[in-house]
Symmetry: D3
Subunit: 212 residues, 6 copies
Amino acid sequence: MKMIHIILYFLALLSYTSHATTTSVNDFCVANLLLPNTPSGYPCKPQSLVTENDFVFSKLGPGVLIQPFNAGTTTVSVKNLPGLNGLGISAGRVDIGINGTIPMHTHPDATELLIVSQGQITAGFITPTKLIVKNLNPGDVFVFPQGLLHFQVNSGVGNAVAFVAYSNSYPNIHLLDILLFGNNLSTPTLEKTTLLDAAQIMKLKAQLGGSG
Amino acid sequence: MKMIHIILYFLALLSYTSHATTTSVNDFCVANLLLPNTPSGYPCKPQSLVTENDFVFSKLGPGVLIQPFNAGTTTVSVKNLPGLNGLGISAGRVDIGINGTIPMHTHPDATELLIVSQGQITAGFITPTKLIVKNLNPGDVFVFPQGLLHFQVNSGVGNAVAFVAYSNSYPNIHLLDILLFGNNLSTPTLEKTTLLDAAQIMKLKAQLGGSG
Amino acid sequence: MKMIHIILYFLALLSYTSHATTTSVNDFCVANLLLPNTPSGYPCKPQSLVTENDFVFSKLGPGVLIQPFNAGTTTVSVKNLPGLNGLGISAGRVDIGINGTIPMHTHPDATELLIVSQGQITAGFITPTKLIVKNLNPGDVFVFPQGLLHFQVNSGVGNAVAFVAYSNSYPNIHLLDILLFGNNLSTPTLEKTTLLDAAQIMKLKAQLGGSG
Amino acid sequence: MKMIHIILYFLALLSYTSHATTTSVNDFCVANLLLPNTPSGYPCKPQSLVTENDFVFSKLGPGVLIQPFNAGTTTVSVKNLPGLNGLGISAGRVDIGINGTIPMHTHPDATELLIVSQGQITAGFITPTKLIVKNLNPGDVFVFPQGLLHFQVNSGVGNAVAFVAYSNSYPNIHLLDILLFGNNLSTPTLEKTTLLDAAQIMKLKAQLGGSG
Amino acid sequence: MKMIHIILYFLALLSYTSHATTTSVNDFCVANLLLPNTPSGYPCKPQSLVTENDFVFSKLGPGVLIQPFNAGTTTVSVKNLPGLNGLGISAGRVDIGINGTIPMHTHPDATELLIVSQGQITAGFITPTKLIVKNLNPGDVFVFPQGLLHFQVNSGVGNAVAFVAYSNSYPNIHLLDILLFGNNLSTPTLEKTTLLDAAQIMKLKAQLGGSG
Amino acid sequence: MKMIHIILYFLALLSYTSHATTTSVNDFCVANLLLPNTPSGYPCKPQSLVTENDFVFSKLGPGVLIQPFNAGTTTVSVKNLPGLNGLGISAGRVDIGINGTIPMHTHPDATELLIVSQGQITAGFITPTKLIVKNLNPGDVFVFPQGLLHFQVNSGVGNAVAFVAYSNSYPNIHLLDILLFGNNLSTPTLEKTTLLDAAQIMKLKAQLGGSG
């Protein structure tokens, strides 16, 4: 922790306390990211230090396209828009290049709402009894209910862009490949728990940074 | 209620019941809009009748510009995207023509997140101790915390467009002018409770359909 | 922050920690108002420092009548009754002098329940499609659902008194006149977003402390 | 179910459905008490049938004093004020005659807030590690956190009156004596699980209607 | 829907309604599984039809071991223990034969708590930045936070048995292999969104009932 | 507070802060038991200090049998399994010796789910209008809804064992005898509020440590 952070921490505490009896407590609770999070969100920044910049993120531009997926996402969460703290919502932008894809993933704590802005996207989610897949065009809105495995594929001929909203102020993104092949969970355990072949597992571990 | 609705109602009940012991109950709960709402949302449509179309809205285009505000909003809620039921999120599009404005309003049950897509928008919200106003450009994201009075003004030279998300599957929109001047609340009561002059009140009642 | 506050802060932390393994954590969570609030409420005061006074407010008497409304409210919230922390309820008393009024306002985070104790009160709330107004006598109970614009008027010949409860441990009170005319939001912006005339706006700004 | 109820049931469904696409869904959800409750509250009455009377209870007067406790409570819940549905709050009035008491009880689903209106009341609640007791005078406000065993005793020389609010739209009242001695739970089981003597148990069962 | 179900449906409604004004509403809400679910759970069965059997499931015995995993789970949810409705908890039993495994899966809406009763189990869950794996013995308790990908492997020499609890009255179980290979999501789409080889995908589709 | 705790406290804060911008915030929130609790749970331990041991409790063995009840319970809560923080679930083990009993008690904040593992248990709970009692055998699962007074009796010929789960990360246990007779609430007040005889009260106070 840099010295400046320690100073900011005590400044915040100071400001907060000295104004505590004269200010509102519930109109909003801008995150004080210097203090530890709680299950309901970050402690509130003192109102006297809150400015209009706590409620704006500037600017949500095109994301860097990550290979081999040729796609990228940018997320506007409580971490970079602290006014979202405790409000149960956040946003993002999805860019999918030609032939690109946002691979299989889940958001364990959030529903995702997607608004296609440009191009064609095939979106889908999967439950044990349903496969829901839909081709989307600009202006189409699609919902991925909380916790379900889902994906987006560029099904058009040019770049695709979408804006997304999440029902959580910090939407964790769990890419299936990273979960399975990006750590050192042993190949025999993976074989047993996924039915994948050892060769397949080792090939993808090599690609995604896993070992074991 | 049209006869077809009665039939659909019993069909739904039938399908639901006969499959009740073999299907999931929680992966999602698509709204059965033919049954009465509850505080937690609509009763669930039977899984056997759920299709991919329950999770998509097509398509969120430019809204009709309403005068005198020269602006319009389109909302994608549980009413037209029933897969949103119970998930605490919805979406919309805001179009503000030249010199237009989305006038003062509240969403009593929802935080609003706004992503500017085109043009310049000046957005603001008000609490008893803070006035938060910010000029926004394309890509900027702004949050209006739940229940607070707020507005958006086109501050650029062309049309402005934004996508919005709400932390509720049905975001009520309470325009202040409609609340004050769109019904028959008596002018003397309005004078006492708003401090506005009677002449001002009567002028706006005439404009907004109110009486009394 | 006074030195005594710093000492109290560490005392609290100390007591808390040393007793942590032997005391209950959930029976109640009395607010430690010296620490920053969170979206779920204040951190808990250590049980060893909790006394019966943390659960009582003494006493909720007649409020000072504020002009020009000739009315006043007193609120018993987590700020002066720290045992309310995390429990989603608070209380208050409303006094409305002859011809007085509690002007148009909202509670963005709370439903209000009003019990008339003395006199006659006309209470009302407004939604885009409903105007609900009712004349109340002593013993009558009225509910103002969360976030809706509402008012109370003394409609009798003597003073009126009511007790109120809120569904939040800290009920923010947003008086419409203060929101619109008590800050420096520019008159042209107010004109555009409220349709009020500039003269009316400037007259009320002068009265309520606003500028711009 | 009387025929009129069946008719009302279908009328409600009819009205609801035919207006479903044009009315708000979330501003409030007045209970339709003719339909089965859900964990979140009753289904909503159609907006077209909602009137101002759905938001008022008239009037909360002195309760009948029940012997041997010489005290009585009246409750204003979703059952007699259907506008409370889904809003997490309700109210009541407590009358305690001279030497009277509201005996030991819990509200399993609600915090209680008590405002003394007349007389003196000694109020208390109990946890395994704390006994919180306080003498209250008119205007004093006391909170009984959710689920805790508590009581109120008239500690003055005249009648005592208090208004109460609960953090639930239907506050169940569990009087300890009724739970223990008002049913047919066998005396040997009661002896084992309370350590009370059989003679004491049988004496109170005779008084409170229990058997076994 | 069998005729008997229609009769039961109206019987339930009848009983409910005729007793509605005299019975409690919140002590519990036993599921009426004949009516459609809502986001907060099933409508409540009328209290007059509630019996002690609504609160018991008899009996949670060894599950059938499913191949090729040589393991089985039995779940006690609101569907077979209707008293769980709205209470946010359910239970289950896990049996893992020699060399068996509960393969990779998620519970999108529930945290899982596992108590080992017999044998040795290696349990683990995965996030993008953490792999948490632990060898468990009888009496050990392990928690899998909501929505995370996880697994259990029999790491002992005999059968393993565990009891589990979930933080939801109906814990959906999403087996990764079923999601990926048990439906007709096209092999090219799976290749793009999982990086798995087509041959691997087709081999597992053949095993798990998928096509396309 | 021991010096080591102070050091740990600052270490935690340090680690947390320095990694704050690069780690997830919501996948889990392991309790930092050194910091004060909040209504939503403890502040989160920094991810860099989280290990697999934060998610396991070892081991839930037979509890010490307490006299005169000849029974004991062991609880696995956020206090000894910090990974449970914010997840709304915990566990325990109940041991009831021959002729033993878990006496009348409530959990003010939790539903309890009981799975009988060995022996015979008679379980019951009580509401003002219902007495629910059931004889349970190994494998039977029983639910005690939140806040209700309940008990368990060994109704077999040998020891009885059960595993339990609670819908709260810290299940307070309120034994009725401790509440009534384990503190210094005066005997006259107890007489008035319970209808018990003074002799009975004094006898049990002597047994349970109470005075007054």
